[in-house]
């Protein structure tokens, strides 16, 4: 099923979050004047098709005490990137893990993993753990820390 006008209504109504009431889907249905069965069916369908990645909480890592947030970047052989990305994503301290294109010769890294630690030491250990996991497939790596937030809007798709 393609994303349609009803899905768009539901998305707009819930972009800021799900209502914190006992029957949240009923509350959305009432607000949009739609049958609750339809609202729940659309949520299920959107989740199945990937329009909704998941329903859940988005933690603020900084508030949680994870003050050290590193964008780790890795050069791994392209033919192994998917298998390695799946394994790195499963590490408990990784919040995002993506395959991205290289830009040779300036940028050799094709695998990105955001890691979060409570100290620089902890992040260094996390990086070492990823390096161990990659073994000989690690052809080079780096870590970039944000030194300043230049812009942050209310943008909410959650798929950076």
């Amino acid at each position: 099923m393609d994303f349609d006008a009803i899905d768009l209504m539901i998305m707009r109504a819930t972009q800021a979050g799900l209502p914190l009431v006992s029957r949240p889907y009923h509350a959305i249905a009432e607000q949009l004047n739609l049958p609750v069965e339809l609202v729940m069916a659309r949520f299920t369908a959107m989740q199945k098709s990937g329009v909704i990645r998941r329903i859940g909480g988005v933690p603020n890592h900084y508030k949680l005490g994870y003050r050290f947030n590193g964008m780790t970047v890795w050069n791994v052989p392209d033919e192994h990137v998917d298998a390695l990305g799946e394994r790195i994503g499963k590490l408990p301290f990784v919040s995002h893990c993506y395959h991205r294109p290289r830009h040779l010769p300036d940028w050799n890294y094709n695998l990105f993993a955001m890691v979060h630690g409570k100290s620089q030491d902890e992040v260094n250990q996390q990086i070492a753990q990823i390096a161990t996991l990659l073994g000989d497939f690690n052809l080079g790596n780096d870590v970039l820390y944000s030194t300043k937030i230049l812009k942050k809007t209310g943008f909410r798709s959650g798929t950076i």
Binding site: F3, D7, M11, T14, Q15, A16, L18, L20, S22, P24, Y25, H26, F43, T44, M46, Q47, S49, G50, I52, R53, R54, I55, G57, V58, P59, N60, L64, R67, M71, V81, G85, E86, G89, K90, L91, P92, V94, C97, Y98, H99, R100, P101, D106, W107, H116, S119, D142, L144, Y145, T147, K148, I149, L150, K151, T153, F155, S157, G158, T159, I160
Partner: protein, 154 residues
């Protein structure tokens, strides 16, 4: 960093971790989550309210995937000469399509997320940023996304 500013307790951590694995679509989903965790529905609702209010959670709800709705999203980077950093920041930030922008400690020292309603607009926006800044934009759209299982320590 010795100040204890913990904004959540062990039960909150269990709740947040549990919700990382998904939230039910049913008549009374908070009640179902409460049952799974041995809590009351009221407790789950109160804890979520509190976690949102104190900023431990930035939001709670459905995470929509812009690309699947026909939109486009990318991560892009620029090597900005230090002396021009403020000027380039102002140019890049002026684009409403630029959602987030971070300075990072690398030769590629500016990293930003661009979100548009169509893939064509994304290409146009990146070209316009190159044109206005006179700098090369390194476009790094995600080619694949891997499942993550981030868990908090209780």
């Amino acid at each position: 960093m010795t100040v204890n500013t913990k904004t959540y307790d062990a039960i909150d951590a269990r709740l947040i971790n549990h919700l990382q694995d998904g939230f039910p679509i049913c008549d009374a989903p908070y009640l179902q989550v409460a049952h799974e965790l041995g809590l009351t529905e009221l407790d789950v609702l109160e804890r979520l309210k509190n976690l949102l209010e104190n900023g431990t959670l930035t939001r709670f709800g459905a995470l929509y995937n812009a690309e699947r709705m026909g939109g486009a999203l990318t991560l892009a980077a620029i090597k900005v000469p230090e002396i021009d950093f403020e000027t380039v920041t102002n140019i890049v930030n002026a684009f409403p399509e630029v959602a987030h922008n971070y300075a990072r400690n690398h030769e590629l020292n500016m990293w930003f997320v661009v979100a548009t309603e169509t893939p064509e607009q994304l290409t146009e926006t990146l070209a316009a940023i190159e044109h206005k800044t006179g700098l090369r934009v390194y476009n790094m759209p995600k080619l694949n996304e891997y499942f993550v299982g981030l868990k908090l320590e209780a």
